[in-house]
């Protein structure tokens, strides 16, 4: 499937880079990371120009992030009543709100590049929890600068073997993302088992 998008870049150029990075920020299954590597490679060969590739990928990604944020924010406002009706749903919402208050900036920043597969979902959560838009946008821009320059730069540098660098990076990115999710779930499980266990021990058996 990636090859299909690579061929599109070869035939139609930079607009494809823009469309694909935009769509990937909305959780659509398009191979944006390796597409940026390929475009970086094409920039090295002279088929595309480096500055336009960087600009297209960056603008596509930033617009995509913000589109995701506002879609989620608008639907969150519409679901207000539905969310507040059920105490469990409401509690979840408040919990994620306080999480975003504390860790929102870092989550947005790292989900743009280090754990990129989580990016679109962090955009949606940011919108749903009404995370401050300016903070979201600025951390997002910072993250996308890293994502775009990292992938396009690597493609440009290792242009003579894109297949190698693509397979290396997609494995590494999958590994790091899975690691991050495991650590997050692990911490959650550890925390949520501790205090209640103490209570359980204290409670006399009947």
């Amino acid at each position: 499937m990636s090859d299909f998008f690579f061929a599109l870049v070869a035939d139609y150029g930079v607009p494809i880079v823009f469309v694909v990075t935009f769509l990937s920020c909305l959780a659509l299954p398009v191979p944006s990371s390796i597409l940026m590597l390929t475009s970086g490679g094409f920039a090295a060969t002279g088929d595309l120009t480096l500055s336009t590739v960087l600009a297209a990928a960056f603008i596509g990604a930033v617009l995509g992030d913000n589109a995701g944020y506002w879609i989620a924010r608008a639907s969150g406002d519409r679901m207000q009543n539905w969310l507040e009706k059920n105490p469990k749903r409401n509690a979840l919402r408040h919990k994620s709100q306080s999480f975003m208050e504390k860790w929102g900036g870092a989550s947005v920043f790292f989900s743009c590049w280090l754990v990129a597969p989580l990016g679109p979902y962090v955009n949606y959560v940011s919108g749903l929890t009404r995370f401050t838009w300016l903070r979201f946008a600025l951390w997002g821009i910072a993250g996308e600068v890293v994502w775009v320059s990292l992938y396009v730069g690597l493609g440009f540098t290792f242009a003579d073997n894109i297949t190698l660098i693509a397979s290396m990076l997609s494995n590494a990115s999958g590994f790091i993302t899975a690691m991050g999710v495991a650590i997050g779930l692990g911490i959650w499980l550890w925390k949520s088992s501790k205090p209640r266990m103490d209570k359980q021990v204290q409670r006399p058996h009947i």
């Binding site: 690579f6 088929d47 003579d160 297949t163 494995n171 590494a172 779930l185 949520s192 088992s193 359980q200």
Partner: protein, 121 residues
């Protein structure tokens, strides 16, 4: 520890299952990374086979072949300005398969390298 696991299994079974599945995914990526490393260590795999998405200039860079050698191999018009076109399109326009193009490139590359070796003893 066992009490903890028992408690979590009773109360948050779905999260525990999610956690375990993520561990399996980590293992999967670790194995994939490892096998990719072994694959690319092999010098025979260092030359990247052509793919339909590549462009003539990309092939030229990857195979270190000058455009004047590669041009005729890819049925490009002599003296035409360089343009962005995919190997897939070139193959389709000239009624060739990717394998046939690959064979032509390999042949030209071998000849080119032999000539270079002859010039530089």
């Amino acid at each position: 520890m066992i009490d903890r696991i028992k408690y979590l299994w009773a109360r948050h079974r779905l999260v525990v299952i999610a956690f375990l599945s993520v561990l399996v995914i980590i293992g999967y990526f670790a194995i994939k990374t490892f096998s990719a490393m072994i694959y690319w260590q092999d010098p025979a795999h260092k030359n990247q086979d052509i793919e339909p998405w590549m462009t003539p200039r990309y092939v030229s860079l990857s195979y270190r072949l000058p455009p004047e050698i590669l041009g005729p191999v890819l049925c490009l018009e002599k003296g035409a300005p360089p343009r962005r076109i995919s190997i897939g399109k070139i193959a389709a326009e000239n009624n060739l398969t990717i394998e046939e193009l690959q064979a032509r490139i390999d042949e030209a590359a071998a000849a080119w390298w032999a000539e270079l070796a002859r010039k530089k003893p």
